[in-house]
């Protein structure tokens, strides 16, 4: 046995440590050809595993039949064209494209994908008005869908990433047809490479999606050049990142809006006069400027202005007008009860907004308490109607945003259904008249009529004070100077990275 003195051992350990530390200096090295994007959602966690780890969100590995333009309109993607045969029947003609493994895309692959999604996610059947046996393949490049009821927005709905078409013979990297193919995945990271045989422009660079949960760490990683792009940095970092010569900011109006959903069936907010008073008390511009640092657009209605049928400009502005609000409080049946304002504890700004609203409401003589609810229980508590006003943010992940209006304001919409079915009430669904407007709009194939019905709903919602609009959300993208060529999109998951140039300077 070698006799090693303690002193020698200490020296050896110290030397080893120095060598190890020296190896660390300079930080992590990145592949110069790959764009690294820091995400605030884990692209490898279990919920993304449904489709062999190549779930369409963000990744551009699979493609849906129908694409979404930056104007939020449908456009051909894997389907070259489509036509409506009658009120419930659609025929889609497929492009001549290949999967990443070289196999040709066929109509059977499309049907298999839809049946797989309908089987895994049973709720989608209701959403699309489509049963598993509601599809036929007259030939290899044609798919006919038979809806269970008229569904005018069907092409837009199947733009959702859930319906990215997959190869039934592949469960992993070669399952898609998109501009990127999967190279590696694991530990919160997905590495994509350009699909060299892509039918369109082959991407300039590979893309690595890396999950960085903490907003501050995401921002620091960008500043340290460990990533090239990050979504949603902390709001208080935005101006610093914008002013820095090494980083830049892009803000993009998103499809989501933040609002106070008012419980129409719980006293005292069941009083329309009081609800209107609350609306007069709120200054949306002040919230945008002072609480969310200008990253958002003051709202007049419950839906983001990025959605084509939204009538922001035609909606009335309430104020702010605290004198009028006080008059309305006087006119109302309000007797000094304490309103409950509920917020999701995971949404930092929402708590501050609630405090701001509390102060405004106090000023017009309405007392409130703030209830913070942990994320896991938040939506359940909201749909249970446990608050008078709940701060929520809702948006759409597909080009057909119609489902939002149904989800939020129809009595059978998912936000209201629980209480409607149990007690005949709901949360912020004004009632049968609005339900009928939504249904007419939902099923009509006349776009003008649909938009007009949705406009009526928005006016009515605003008039009755069923919501307190706050702001239309903006997605913030911070990126390293030198990164160029990405195409933003109102749906953050649909940013186009194919033409991006990395421009890394080492």
């Amino acid at each position: 046995m070698v006799d090693v003195s303690r002193r020698t051992l200490v020296k050896a350990t110290a030397a080893g440590s120095v060598v190890s530390l020296a190896g660390c200096i300079g930080g992590a090295e990145e592949d110069e050809e790959s764009l690294v994007i820091g995400l605030n959602a884990d692209p490898t966690d279990e919920q993304w595993d449904d489709f062999g780890g190549v779930m369409g969100y963000f990744l551009d590995v699979t493609e849906p039949l129908v694409g979404a333009s930056t104007e939020m309109e449908t456009e051909p993607q894997l389907a070259e064209s489509w036509e409506q045969l009658d009120e419930t029947t659609w025929r889609f003609e497929l492009r001549d494209v290949e999967f990443h493994n070289g196999e040709a895309l066929t109509a059977d692959d499309v049907v298999w994908t839809f049946r797989d999604v309908l089987d895994r996610e049973a709720w989608t059947s209701d959403w699309l008005s489509l049963d598993a046996d509601g599809m036929e393949t007259p030939d290899d490049t044609t798919v006919v869908f038979e809806n269970t009821e008229p569904m005018a927005s069907f092409p837009g709905l199947i733009n959702h990433d859930y319906f990215g078409i997959r190869n039934p013979n592949e469960s992993g990297p070669d399952a898609g047809t998109g501009p990127f193919e999967l190279s590696e995945r694991g530990d919160g990271e997905v590495i994509l490479e350009p699909f060299e045989d892509y039918r369109g422009d082959v991407p300039n660079a590979g893309v690595t999606f890396r999950y960085i949960q903490d907003p501050a760490t995401r921002s620091l990683s960008l500043q340290n050049q460990e990533v090239d792009v990050i979504f949603n940095p902390p709001l208080n970092d935005v101006s610093e990142l914008e002013e820095s010569s090494e980083t830049d900011i892009h803000t993009q109006l998103a499809t989501s809006a933040t609002l106070g959903a008012v419980n129409l069936y719980e006293s005292p907010t069941d009083d329309e006069t009081l609800r209107r008073a609350l609306n007069y008390a709120v200054d949306q511009e002040e919230i945008v400027e002072n609480i969310i640092d200008g990253v958002g657009v003051p709202a007049r209605g419950p839906f983001s202005n990025a959605i084509p049928w939204v009538i922001h400009d035609d909606l009335p502005e309430y104020g702010p007008d605290h004198d009028r609000a006080r008059e309305l409080v006087e006119e109302s049946d309000y007797g000094g009860e304490e309103l409950v304002l509920m917020v999701d504890s995971a949404e930092d700004e929402h708590a501050t907004i609630a405090e701001h609203l509390q102060s405004n409401f106090e000023d017009i003589g309405v007392t409130t308490s703030i209830r913070m609810v942990e994320t896991g229980a938040f939506y359940d508590t909201f749909t249970d109607g446990e608050a008078n006003l709940t701060i929520v943010a809702f948006g759409s992940n597909s080009v057909a945003s119609d489902y939002l209006i149904r989800t939020m304001f129809h009595s059978q919409g998912s936000d209201n259904r629980q209480l409607y079915e149990a007690e005949g009430t709901g949360v912020y669904n004004p009632g049968s008249e609005i339900d009928e407007m939504i249904e007419t709009g939902y099923h009509t194939f006349d776009e003008d009529e649909r938009f007009e019905k949705y406009a009526e709903v928005q006016r009515e919602i605003r008039q009755t004070g069923a919501v307190v609009p706050l702001f239309y959300n903006e997605d913030v993208l911070a990126y390293r100077s030198g990164v160029d060529g990405f195409e933003p999109h109102p749906i953050d998951k649909k940013y186009d990275w194919t033409a991006v140039t990395v421009g890394r300077l080492d």
Partner: protein, 313 residues
């Protein structure tokens, strides 16, 4: 031997209690997991049929005590169940992340000891002198400083300004050093004070005076005679601190974006993924109980005067 058996038996009772409390708390948490999970997956409130179907498929409609017995029976056989979100085995999810967390825990304990032992000794030897005052102030700051804040501070200094380490990620020593320092500093502060106190007590013992009177060098007296006995309570505290380290790892793993049990647990709690929550807590409890058992058993080795489980004569 009887003491070991006694400790093993109490460990089983403790783990039984932990399993009961964990299961009870998880099931008493507000929010229907079936609804929460379906909302998480779909972005919408699910239909009552979908909720019912999910509950039935996951055995949530069984009486709670049946669910508990099923879970414990499975756990005893190494089967912690499956995640609600996928078919992934909870045990494999835990094993995937356990290594990263243990790596961080061990590294942070090493950091704590490397800082605390020399500082505590120096502080005791030079009691009341500037080095003692400085170390006590340092210990106070170390105890008071939130580890996530120290984490950001380390990132700004050593990653952003000095470019010595990466900000986030895992794999390799370069990704371990800053998180280990951030997590180990709090423990270092506690252990420093303990080493100091313990050393002061030992230094006052007669056998230390005897050693000095025999003409031994002060270095030999301190390191060979005093330190060995002074470190016995330190071993206890370091063992107990494992729980603290696992707690702190939850935050540190998020700040440094390291995969680990902390991240797994937090995500599972927010998603109401009960099998994963129960599995992680049980594994953490087992780790804690086993480490305490090892600490107790190590006493006898460290100090032959201690006869475990026998009344003092």
């Amino acid at each position: 031997m009887s003491y070991v058996l006694y400790r093993l038996a109490t460990a089983v009772v403790v783990l039984f209690g932990v399993s009961l409390v964990t299961f009870g708390f998880v099931h008493a948490t507000p929010g229907d997991p079936a609804e929460t999970i379906l909302i998480e997956q779909t972005g919408q409130q699910p239909s009552s049929e979908a909720v019912e179907e999910f509950r039935e498929a996951e055995g949530m409609n069984d009486p709670v005590h049946h669910q508990y017995v099923d879970w414990v029976t499975g756990a005893v056989h190494g089967d912690l169940g499956q995640s609600y979100f996928s078919d992934a085995e909870v045990s494999s999810l835990i094993l995937d992340d356990l290594y990263n967390t243990l790596e961080l825990a061990v590294a942070s304990i090493l950091v704590a000891l490397v800082i605390a032992v020399p500082t505590g000794i120096a502080s005791a030897i030079h009691q009341g002198q500037p080095i003692d005052v400085t170390s006590q102030i340092g210990a106070l700051i170390g105890v008071s400083m939130p580890n996530f804040w120290l984490g950001y501070l380390l990132i700004i200094v050593f990653a952003l300004n000095l470019n010595m380490f990466p900000v986030a990620g895992s794999g390799g020593l370069e990704h371990l050093i800053l998180p280990a320092i951030a997590l180990g500093t709090g423990m270092a502060a506690i252990v420093t004070r303990l080493v100091r106190t313990s050393m002061l007590e030992v230094i006052d013992q007669e056998y230390i005076d005897t050693a000095r009177s025999k003409g031994l060098k002060e270095r030999i007296v301190v390191y060979k005679h005093a330190l060995r006995n002074a470190l016995i309570p330190v071993v206890t505290v370091v063992g107990l601190q494992l729980g603290f380290v696992l707690n702190g790892a939850v935050v540190i793993e998020i700040v440094f974006q390291r995969p680990g049990l902390g991240n797994l647990l937090v995500d599972a709690i927010f998603a109401r993924n009960y099998p994963v929550v129960q599995g992680v807590v049980l594994v953490a409890a087992v780790t804690f109980v086993v480490s305490n058992l090892l600490v107790d058993l190590s006493y006898r080795y460290l100090d032959p005067r201690i006869k475990l489980g026998e009344s003092q004569q």
